[in-house]
């Protein structure tokens, strides 16, 4: 068919993403308009809700942090040919592991946080690895396996959280993690006398430190770069990608595909687990009983898709997602408009992301108009 060099498609992935975001927002505007709300006002509320105060920007980053990481989890799995719907359950296990290690073990600060995070990540990596093992050894479709494991994780979490000795009195949650395990930025200093004085003199920081800003975002950013490096610059990543693109060829050239599949799912699980762990260590400080799945793992699928399934792409995608979710949460209060319009917007963005052909047609039309009546580039 057409000889396509890397990146010479008439619609580059960046254009495609931008176009999809734009069109998705347009759909949201349409839905709002039809329901009698002013789209301009609504989007104004969202933008104000994200940018107008330093604390808002901080909250946006806080919201985006776990999303970037669950997005990484799904994106990593995609690159290796697997569909990780299990990010939700792996998130839960990561959160639980970190909460338990943070509350019931005594270690000096920083080391404690690292230990607790590692515990959570390990638990989640194991959870992901189970799905990988079931697929490799028994041929169980990873979609089914991870869906089952999601629910299992949910109920297991609820069971453990309520065990005597772990449960916090008068709450359906674990005991709070010790201060030594927290990854929030200067949590104790900022509410001390000295801290309050300093903050009063620095209004911007005063506002920011009102929020549970934590190092999770750094972990997410470093994690994204690490994922990219692992996939593209190491032999392991090469093998994982080969398995993802062409299982038969990978087998033929001597790659142990079973071991690699388990490895992929374990890494993906660990990434989603990191999201859960740092969510607990930096913000919630507990693992609570869950009535339903929080959705951060599921949202991660959306982040990965908007980010074009690339690790680096998950960063802007996660920030966008977090911004929309946080900003959108203000709609109910400001305009009495349903916050679910955000889900419709996100869904529409993904819908348009799914159709590269559509954006290709649009890109060609735009190019043609710009070039006058020149022949369009087409493969």
């Amino acid at each position: 068919m057409s000889n396509v060099k890397r990146g010479v498609l008439s619609a580059s992935p960046i254009f495609r993403t931008l176009f999809s975001v734009f069109t998705g927002l347009l759909v949201g505007a349409l839905v709002l308009f039809i329901s009698g709300y002013s789209p301009l006002k609504a989007y104004r509320v969202i933008i104000d809700g994200i940018f107008s105060k330093p604390s808002y920007i901080s909250y946006t980053i806080i919201y985006a942090t776990p999303l970037i990481m669950t997005g990484l989890s799904v994106a990593f799995a995609f690159k290796t040919g697997l569909f990780n719907i299990g990010a939700e359950g792996q998130f839960i296990m990561g959160a639980l592991g970190a909460a338990l290690a943070g509350a019931f073990v005594s270690l000096p600060p920083v080391i404690h946080a690292i230990f607790a995070a590692t515990a959570g990540i390990a638990a989640a990596a194991l959870w992901g690895g189970i799905a990988g093992y079931l697929k490799a050894r028994f041929g169980v479709n990873e979609v089914i396996a991870t869906i089952m494991l999601n629910w299992t994780a949910l109920y297991l979490n609820n069971y453990i959280v309520n065990l005597p000795g772990i449960k916090r009195p008068a709450a359906t949650a674990t005991a709070f993690i010790l201060d030594s395990a927290r990854t929030e930025v200067l949590p104790l200093w900022k509410i001390s006398e000295a801290g309050k004085l300093w903050r009063a003199a620095h209004p911007v920081w005063q506002d920011i430190l009102r929020t549970p800003l934590n190092v999770g975002i750094l972990v997410a950013l470093i994690g994204a770069v690490l994922c990219w490096w692992l996939l593209n610059r190491t032999t392991l990543g090469y093998e994982l990608r080969a398995v993802g693109h062409n299982l038969d060829c990978a087998e033929h050239v001597g790659i142990d595909i079973n071991a690699r599949m388990i490895c992929s799912m374990a890494i993906a699980g660990g990434l989603a687990g990191a999201a859960g762990a740092f969510h607990v260590l930096g913000w919630t400080r507990q693992a609570a009983e869950l009535a339903a799945m929080e959705g951060l793992g599921f949202d991660g699928i959306g982040v990965a898709l908007i980010g074009n399934a690339s690790p680096i792409g998950c960063i802007p995608a996660g920030l966008l997602f977090g911004a929309l979710k946080y900003g959108g949460s203000k709609l109910q209060f400001a305009l009495r408009a349903p916050i679910e319009v955000i889900n419709i917007v996100i869904g529409s963005i993904i819908f348009f992301v799914s159709m590269p052909k559509l954006t290709q047609i649009v890109a060609q039309r735009l190019k043609r108009r710009r070039l006058g009546r020149g022949e369009p580039h087409v493969g």
């Binding site: 068919m1 060099k5 610059r233 693109h245 062409n246 060829c249």
Partner: protein, 514 residues
């Protein structure tokens, strides 16, 4: 030029100045093509010359970019295969269009199902029609069998029945002999004769000169999208036709040094293995390959060749028996270990097993050596070393386009095969297994591959060739083993073998029954 209406009607098919472009690429360039009613007309050209493209337009798969098509003197606009079928055109594609899990009858009636009220299928009725057609034209099939269970030759007959079931008067056969044994090819010739005796018109697309001489009356030659000419087959020799097809004199002389074979490098003893459906595929295979020779495995597709190669590369477990390589028992060795020991394989499906299409050419060239120095140091890839290696191989093997950053999927079939060859040969293996190494390649690429394989053999390595192409087998082999129903039924030296003999052995060594 005006054609009188009378003479136009003598042609079952006429295509006038038909041009077909795909983007920048011109597949057919102002081709004039006429087929007389009731004749057998061959369309000759290399792989990629444009013959299938031309006939696909006649079958309505896509419209010409410009030019006209006439069927029985009437100008037609074929928007879809349905239009073509309605006008009496039927096509048997090179890669069969059969739904594997469906039965023969279901495949034949698909799209023109005999159904009653509410669309409820009436299979009994269809079955009767199939049996009637089958006996009328001598096309024996088992109407209740599933396609995945029947032989390739029977599948072809099913495809022909599909056309006849729809009342085709003009039948297009695309490379019909590529998958048949010599006996089956003769049988096909009889079938074609029966068809024309009943007034049908047959067009055969092929690059096999021998079949043209045997079956066709006239032949149109296409080269690089342009019609070279139309000739009476009887008045031209095979080399005349070859020259028209390729554009230069083609010698059929064997240009090979005699083999200087050494000791045994590969040995199979009593190997039993199952196929993907759990049925026995290899039933006690035994043979040896020596250094410095090309051993060819000849056989009809489906007699265990694929499973044999998979057993040798370590992708299929052995139920019983053993495989010895360089003196070691490698029966339980993993694919990776065999590669380390010096086993290399060119897989029969290059896109499925031979390449990762989404990887670049450079990445594909280090597939087996991904963890070795200098390409990888302590787990980290050395991209510069990989690039250097790729450029070296691209030059040595003339891989086009010569950019190591191109995705493997964007290369032509011939160049993809060169990538695989380059990779396997430069690893300096002790034994090279080549499965269908020239499938789908044009004459130039075929020559190249053959040359390289002979080179490997001349360097004192062993080459195991598994090929469905008897011409290729006879050209390359020093020794030949014939595989039938998972067993080796004959071991021959090249001098003892000829097409007739091999054809009989491949079919089980008994009287012809397909």
């Amino acid at each position: 030029m005006q054609q009188a209406t009378n003479s136009a009607a003598e042609f079952a098919v006429e295509m006038r100045r038909v041009t077909k472009r795909f983007g920048d690429f011109t597949a057919n360039d102002k081709i004039d093509f006429q087929v007389r009613r009731g004749e057998v007309h061959a369309l000759l050209g290399e792989n990629g010359a444009g013959k299938s493209t031309l006939m696909n337009q006649l079958y309505g798969l896509y419209p010409p970019t410009s030019g006209d098509i006439f069927i029985n003197g009437e100008k037609v606009h074929l928007a879809s295969p349905k239009n073509a079928i309605d006008r009496g055109v039927g096509m048997v594609h090179q890669h069969f269009m059969l739904v594997q899990p469906f039965t023969v009858t279901e495949n034949i009636m698909l799209g023109r199902e005999s159904a009653g009220a509410l669309g409820i299928l009436n299979e009994a009725h269809a079955l009767r029609e199939v049996e009637a057609l089958s006996s009328r034209y001598g096309l024996s099939v088992d109407p209740r069998a599933r396609i995945q269970d029947i032989s390739v030759a029977m599948q072809q007959r099913v495809e022909i029945l599909k056309c006849l079931y729809r009342g085709a008067e003009i039948l297009i056969l695309d490379e019909p002999t590529a998958v048949l044994t010599p006996q089956e090819i003769e049988f096909l010739g009889t079938i074609i004769h029966n068809l024309t005796a009943e007034g049908k018109t047959v067009v055969i697309i092929t690059h096999k000169l021998r079949e043209i001489k045997k079956m066709a009356e006239r032949c149109t030659v296409i080269r690089r999208g342009i019609k070279v000419g139309t000739v009476d087959v009887a008045s031209r020799s095979e080399s005349d036709l070859a020259e028209m097809m390729v554009g230069r004199a083609v010698s059929f002389a064997v240009e090979k040094n005699p083999a200087r074979s050494g000791d045994t490098i590969l040995s199979l003893k009593g190997v039993h293995a199952l196929n993907n459906r759990g049925l026995p595929a290899l039933n006690g295979i035994e043979f040896d390959v020596k250094r410095g020779e090309i051993l060819a495995v000849a056989g009809i597709d489906g007699n265990g060749q694929s499973e044999l190669v998979e057993v040798l590369t370590g992708l299929r477990p052995i139920e019983s028996g053993s495989v010895y390589f360089r003196g070691d028992d490698i029966t339980r060795y993993s694919p990776g270990r065999r590669i380390e020991m010096g086993l290399a394989a060119i897989p029969e499906d290059r896109q499925k097993r031979g390449l990762v299409g989404a990887f670049t050419v450079a990445e594909n060239l280090i597939l087996e050596q991904r963890a070795d120095r200098p390409f990888s140091r302590r787990g980290v890839l050395d991209l510069k070393a990989i690039k250097r290696h790729a450029n070296k191989l691209i030059e040595r093997f003339d891989i086009r386009p010569p950019r190591e950053t191109y995705l493997a999927s964007s290369l032509s079939g011939g160049n993809q095969q060169k990538v695989i060859l380059a990779r396997e040969i430069t690893r300096n293996p002790e034994l090279l297994i080549a499965s269908q190494p020239t499938r789908g390649l044009d004459v130039g690429a075929i020559e190249y591959v053959h040359k390289r394989l002979v080179q490997v053999r001349d360097e004192g390595k062993g080459v195991l060739l598994v090929s469905l192409d008897l011409d290729e087998t006879l050209y390359l082999a020093d020794r030949i083993v014939v595989i039938y129903e998972g067993k080796i039924v004959s071991v021959l030296d090249r001098e003892e073998a000829d097409e007739r003999k091999l054809g009989l052995l491949m079919a089980g060594g008994e009287a012809v029954h397909v």
